[in-house]
Structure formats: C-alpha cells, structure tokens
C-alpha cells in the first residue's frame, strides 16, 4: 500500500511538472490508440479460445464437441425464440437479489470487524468457516429448509458469497489510513461523514474486487440451485439439454450465459470502477 502510494505521488509530481492540466486533458491521440489496443487484445483472446474449440471439434464427433458455428446457430435460435430473456431474467434476478442481500449485510459487518477488536474476534471464526463451505452444500441446505422456491435461491446465493465479501471489506478496513481518521476528528466530522467521506472511499478497490469475485461465485451457485428442480432459469435449461444428451444445447446456454456475464463485468462493473476511481492517476509501472 505504502509502495503504491509512493508510485502514485511520484507520478502526480511528474504530471504537475508537465503542467498538470495539460497532462490530464491532452494526449488524446495516445489515449485513443491505447484504448484500441486494449480492445484488440480482449477480442484476440476470445478469438483464440474459439479457434481452439474449432480445432478440437475436428477430432471429436459433434455429439461430444459440436462445431462452434452450429452452436452459435443454436444460440441465435435460443435468443430469437424469446424464451432466452425469460430464462436469463429469472437467473439474473436470483443473482441480483442474493447479491444485494449479501452486500447490504457484509459492508457494515466488514467495517465493524475492521474497526472494533471485540467484533473481529467474535465474527472471525464463523466468517472463515463460511468461506470453506461449498456452495453446493448451501444450495442443498437452503432448498431443504425453504423448499423449492425463490427464497431458497436468494438465500443460497446470499449465504455463499457473504463470507467472501465480509472478509475483503474487513481486511480492507484494517488497511485504511489512520491519519485521515485523526484529520476527520480534528475537523469534527460527524460519524456518518466519517463513514461516507473517509472510510468507504478507501474501501472502494476492496469492494470492487469483492464484487467481482462475489458475482463469479453467485453465478456458480445459482446454476446449481436451478439444476435441483427449478422450472426455469439457465441452470434448468442446461439440465434439460443434459437430459436429452444434447451437447449443443448445453453449450449454447452456457455461451449465452457467458456473454451476459461479460457484458455485466466489462460494461457495468468496469464503468463503475472508472467512475469511482477517476480521482486516481493510473499506475503505469512498466511504462518508460
């Protein structure tokens, strides 16, 4: 952390030296080239994956590894018949609700654990235990407890990702700058202002990292829950494909799912990250 701050301040000095406003707003061409390069690399990495898939499909029968374009045609079919949106919507809703519950509970708990020694000691064991608990077991437990309904899906998602979120925020809180807390005391900041203006902004990177891991985990759990006997959702559709042993259907649903995930990850979370970290010059450790 200290190291990182040092790098940042050195960069900022350099920027200031070069006429700080100019360094910020100028260099538009450079930035555009950089952005194009970034997008190119991402597209290239996905193209490489498809290429490997295609190569493998040459050596296996289509019932085991269907051709990429056949599968994409199936994807188009799924999307155009319209049931895609209903199924994906159901899954997204389960993830969103479960995620929101976990977030609302873990942020205050994490901050309290990071700032109060007694709460840290009390909550550390259950949180660590919770982290080791497989999502599959939570899914089974929640369905047995709540029955086959939406509540069990929400609960399974929330309970599975909660420990991970709480740990990130708890550890993040321990690394916040004590000098800034003293400063906020000297200027008589109210408790709410201390949390919103001083503590939370220092946790943003930790929370964003937690959100990414948490979403990844949430998708995995929700599909498992849906496989257990739900009548809609992406997990259910994958099981249906499995029951008729259609590799193409299974893969097609998986792909639609991945595409939606990528949109959320790069679109929504990436945008959120850019918005909340615009105050920070980028760390360009390897640039000369």
């Amino acid at each position: 952390m200290a190291q990182q701050q040092k790098t940042l301040s050195v960069q900022a000095e350099a920027a200031a030296g070069a006429g700080s406003l100019g360094a910020l707003s100028g260099a538009g061409g450079d930035r555009a080239r950089e952005a194009a390069m970034e997008i190119g690399l991402r597209v290239g990495s996905i193209a490489t994956l498809i290429l490997i898939w295609w190569a493998l499909s040459l050596f296996f029968p289509p019932t085991l590894i269907p051709r990429p374009w056949d599968t994409f045609a199936e994807v188009a079919e799924i999307v155009s018949t319209g049931n895609f949106f209903a199924e994906m919507g159901a899954t997204l809703r389960r993830v969103a609700v479960g995620f929101a519950i976990a977030m609302v509970l873990s942020v205050p708990l994490g901050i309290l654990m990071g700032t109060l020694r007694s709460l840290e000691s009390f909550f550390e064991p259950p949180v660590i235990l919770g982290l080791t608990m497989p999502g599959l077991i939570w899914a089974v437990l929640m369905i047995m407890f709540f029955g086959l309904n939406e509540t069990s899906a929400y609960a399974a998602v929330a309970v599975t990702i909660f420990p991970m979120l709480a740990i990130s925020i708890w550890q993040g809180t321990k690394s916040i700058d004590k000098d800034l807390i003293d400063m906020s005391k000297a200027f008589h900041a109210r408790p709410w202002s201390k949390v919103v203006d001083v503590i939370l902004p220092q946790l943003v990177s930790h929370i964003l990292a937690a959100v990414r891991y948490g979403l990844g985990l949430a998708w995995k759990v929700v599909v498992v829950v849906e496989m257990f006997g739900f009548s809609n959702g992406v997990g259910y559709q994958v099981v249906r494909g499995f029951n008729v042993f259609s590799m193409k259907t299974v893969l097609a649903w998986t792909i639609t799912f991945l595409v939606v995930m990528i949109v959320i990850e790069f679109g929504i979370i990436g945008w959120l990250e850019r918005v909340v970290t615009q105050w920070r010059p980028r760390v360009e450790a390897w640039r000369r």
């Binding site: 406003l21 400063m183 008589h188």
Partner: protein, 261 residues
C-alpha cells in the same frame, strides 16, 4: 478578526509504556500565545511538541493543567469547534476535489451552507489555488497539496490555527515560498496561530513569539518575542540574522545544560 490567544497552564502529560512505567512527556508547560499573531513552539524532535498540539486541539487528554482559548467570547476549553489544523502531511481526501476537501471541513464545523462558496473563493484565492478548485489532489504537486491543507485549516475561520511542522516534508524552495505566503496570510488575517517546528530559522522567520521547549520531558526553557514585524523579516537582513542568532544561542545553551544534566 476578533482578539484570541491560547492560554496553556501547567500542562502535564504521561504516556504509559509497554512495561507499565509512566513516561513524563510534558512537565508543567505554561505559556500564552501571542494575541492575533503566530507563536512558534521550537524544540527538538520527539520532545512532545506534537503531543502539546494534540492536547490543545483536544485529540489528547492532559493529566494535569488546562488549555484555554481566550477570546472576545470569553474563556473556552478547546474542545469546542474553533480550531483549524494543518498537518505535516497534507492529509487530504484524495477522492474529493480540492473544493470538496474544504467543504468537508466546513460541513464538520457546521458552517452555514450559504457561506461556503464565498469562503472557498476567498481562502483558495489566498493560497493561490483558485483555478485548481475542481482538481483532484493527486494531480497536484506536494507543495500545492500542502496549500490545500492550509486553505482547509483557514476556511473554517478558526480562532486559532494549529500547524504541525507543515513545511518539513517539502523541498527547500517550495518550503521557503510557502512559509512566506503563510506568514503574509496570517498577518493579513491577524490570525492567531500556533506553529510547531524544530527549525530555528523557521521559528525566527514565522514566529511573533517563540516558545523554546526542552528535550523530553518538555518544559518551557524560554519565551522570546520577535522584534521584527512579520512583513519586515528578510532572511538576509541584518536584524533578522541577529534575532536568529539570539534564538540559536538559547537553543545551544539549552542543549549544553541537557548534556551536563
């Protein structure tokens, strides 16, 4: 500006060490700061200067003695919100724009929102950063960030401005310019200020009154008033050098006594 000064009377502070033994940090420290002027607390590193400043600001409790701000409003303990603080590091909220850092202080001190805009204009202008008010701190140089810290201390229009070695982490050139500007601003506002420093020249330059503290446990060794008015102190001026020498002699004498003791 109303009349104001800080009255410190018999301040005693212990720190408890790991082994349980108490360590005396402040040993009956008493002094009055200069009314509507800058008072420097001059002493060696680790002598308890910052502890004293924290006691004055209410961040630290004294075992004995008291600290009061005496003003037109009467005598008050320093726990009430009338102190501005400038730290050794800027201690800015880097995720807030320059003006929002000032608003953070205004909000804490419950300054009516109607006054914010005018005050931000006035004090950012004074430190010469008005055009950077929408900028984020990490895009500013170290000296500029410290100026934002100074503006934040001033914007609440405190009865007393406390400054804890605010120039010690800056390079010589930046520090010199910022000292000059800070002194001019304090003189113009007739701001009562308390500046902690271990630098004799800085004390001679900045202080209308200089309180020399001994090494730990700190007690007041000597109190000197600067014969030169704030805006007539030139680093290469004969009168200034005379006074600096006078101050240095006191400090050297104090060090000698401590070696003998």
């Amino acid at each position: 500006m109303d009349m104001a000064y800080v009255h410190v009377d018999g301040a005693v502070k212990f720190f408890s060490r790991e082994d349980g033994a108490g360590m005396l940090v402040l040993d009956h420290v008493s002094f009055d700061t200069k009314e509507n002027g800058v008072t420097c607390l001059l002493g060696p590193s680790g002598c308890g200067k910052s502890t004293l400043l924290n006691a004055i600001s209410g961040l630290e409790r004294l075992e004995q003695g008291r600290v009061e701000v005496v003003s037109d409003h009467g005598r008050a303990t320093t726990l009430s919100p009338q102190l501005g603080y400038v730290f050794q590091d800027p201690r800015l909220l880097n995720w807030k724009r320059v003006e929002d850092n000032l608003i953070f202080a205004l909000k804490g001190m419950e300054v009516p929102q109607a006054e914010w805009k005018e005050r931000i204009h006035k004090y950012l202008g004074m430190v010469g950063l008005l055009e950077f008010r929408k900028q984020y701190p990490l895009y500013l140089s170290g000296g500029m960030r410290q100026r934002v810290g100074l503006a934040r201390g001033l914007v609440i229009e405190p009865e007393v401005l406390l400054m804890d070695e605010p120039f010690s982490k800056l390079d010589q050139f930046t520090a010199r310019k910022l000292r000059e500007d800070t002194l001019a601003i304090c003189a113009r506002l007739r701001q009562t200020a308390l500046l902690v420093t271990h630098d004799v020249e800085e004390a001679a330059y900045m202080g209308d009154r200089i309180v020399i503290l001994s090494a730990r446990p700190a007690h007041v060794a000597e109190i000197l008033d600067n014969p030169l008015p704030p805006l007539e102190r030139e680093l290469d001026d004969f009168g200034f050098i005379e006074f600096k020498k006078r101050l240095l002699q006191s400090v050297l004498k104090l060090m000698e006594e401590e070696v003998r003791a």
